[in-house]
């Protein structure tokens, strides 16, 4: 029981940190892509969109090679640590958050930028209010980013090593138990993962839909 608690806590910690770091990268980068008008923009967007569909095992392989003792960042001795999993999961989630942020802002009326500037907004204020207007799809981007990392197994296995008490997370534990033929344990862990994912997405959906509910409640009663 203690081990399951430890595995669950580590899974949540690693995936939450990776999602937040990908948000810190993806939100400004996606905004820059959506609002910018520069040469090469479409090329970058197509690369980001490809990144959204990159198989986690490929990312795991690249990160593992980089963090391997003989690799470019081998001296940092991060391979088979939770930090290595966070790095790999951030690389998985960042394109998802970036791409969906860009799409969310591009869906707004382009004249809204001019209107905000025409009312005296600074560039920072303009971006803040554009994010506010796009908050529902931006929360969806956050949910998609989190969903992409909490459920992945390939990268976590390759760069974390599935070491008991150190880098074992729910998905890698499920793979291990299945390979041992311990289907009941694997099923129990799968159910736990599903419930956790559901609860987190339920909370985010509740936040997302709060604004819509407020709209409905303030509707005129005729």
């Amino acid at each position: 029981m203690t081990e399951i608690f430890q595995i669950t806590t580590l899974s949540l910690q690693v995936s939450t940190i990776a999602t937040l770091v990908s948000l810190l990268i993806g939100l400004p980068f996606g905004t820059w892509l959506a609002l910018g008008n520069f040469r090469g923009r479409n090329l970058i967007l197509s690369i980001i969109n490809t990144g959204m569909a990159l198989p986690p095992v490929v990312i795991g392989l690249v990160v593992a090679m980089t963090l391997w003792r003989s690799g470019a960042l081998g001296e940092l001795r991060l391979i088979y640590t939770p930090i290595a999993i966070i790095i790999a999961q951030t690389i998985i989630a960042a394109p998802v958050v970036t791409g969906l942020t860009a799409a969310a802002l591009e869906a707004l009326d382009p004249r809204l930028q001019q209107q905000l500037l025409g009312l005296g907004a600074s560039r920072g204020q303009m971006v803040w209010y554009l994010w506010r207007e796009a908050r529902l799809p931006l929360l969806a981007a956050l949910m998609a980013g989190f969903g992409s990392v909490i459920s992945e197994v390939g990268a976590s296995m390759m760069v974390g090593g599935n070491i008991r008490g150190q880098t074992r997370v729910l998905t890698t534990a499920i793979v291990l138990e299945t390979s041992k033929g311990e289907f009941e344990t694997a099923l129990a862990l799968s159910a736990l993962l599903l419930v956790l994912t559901y609860l987190i997405n339920l909370a985010l959906t509740w936040i997302q839909q709060k604004g819509r509910k407020a709209d409905w409640q303030s509707a005129p009663r005729k």
Partner: protein, 238 residues
């Protein structure tokens, strides 16, 4: 107050507005008319520093725009678009938006917002969200949001074009009263000649990306600068 000389604006590498000379006096309402795609809105965007000229200059109170601090300058003006472009918040929050950008103290924001939503006749809607307003109500809120800033220059880009006729007539009357009362320097873009004659102290006719003529409606009607202006003004009320 505004002095434009030898101005050329390009969009996507194409010339879209060419003005040799145009002066706008403080307190004046200049109605800019012309067919769709003539370059009227481009003039407003250039005046708001949202488009940079490739040639020539615009002076505001004697100083070239490119020498002014962009943010400080934009906070002297106010822009109303054809579409109200309200944010997903309540009416009073929308009206307060520009004041909040400027860091105006809360107490003054409250007083000013109350004053202007009343002046535009939307006080009963102050707690309503923007998404629940009709087109006419939303445009009234958009006007209140611009007037509350007490701008030195008010830019109106066909603000009533998307409204039905009765709403449009009522809003024009209300706007006319406010402009006469406050003597705001206003540039009012429209392709409706009747509106232009009603609202403007002077009219500027733009066609094909060029400023063709400036003068009072009567002057332009009696002595059109060229055949294009003559044809365009033929629908002016006598």
């Amino acid at each position: 107050m505004i002095r434009i000389r030898d101005l050329l604006i390009q969009r996507n590498g194409r010339d879209v507005l060419n003005i040799d000379s145009l002066d706008i006096q403080r307190g004046e309402t200049l109605a800019v008319v012309g067919p769709n795609g003539a370059g009227k809105s481009t003039l407003l965007l250039a005046l708001a520093q949202l488009l940079k000229p490739v040639r020539g200059e615009i002076r505001f109170d004697g100083k070239p725009l490119h020498e002014l601090n962009e943010l400080e300058y934009r906070r002297k003006i106010s822009f109303v678009f054809q579409s109200p472009l309200l944010l997903d918040m309540t009416v009073e929050q929308n009206v307060a938006l520009g004041l909040r950008f400027r860091g105006v103290p809360k107490e003054r924001v409250k007083t000013d917002v109350e004053k202007w939503i009343k002046s535009l006749g939307v006080e009963s809607l102050s707690k309503r969200r923007a998404s629940q307003l009709s087109g006419g109500e939303a445009q009234r809120v958009s006007l209140a949001r611009a007037f509350v800033l007490n701008p030195e220059l008010l830019l109106l880009d066909e603000p009533f074009a998307a409204l039905d006729s009765p709403t449009r007539v009522k809003l024009l009357e209300d706007l006319s009263v406010l402009l006469n009362r406050d003597h705001l320097t206003t540039i009012f873009v429209t392709h409706n000649l009747k509106e232009a004659a009603q609202m403007g102290d002077r009219m500027a006719v733009i066609a094909g990306g060029e400023l063709r003529q400036v003068g009072t409606a009567r002057q332009i009607k009696s002595k059109p600068a060229d055949e294009t202006v003559k044809a365009f003004l033929s629908e002016l009320p006598q």
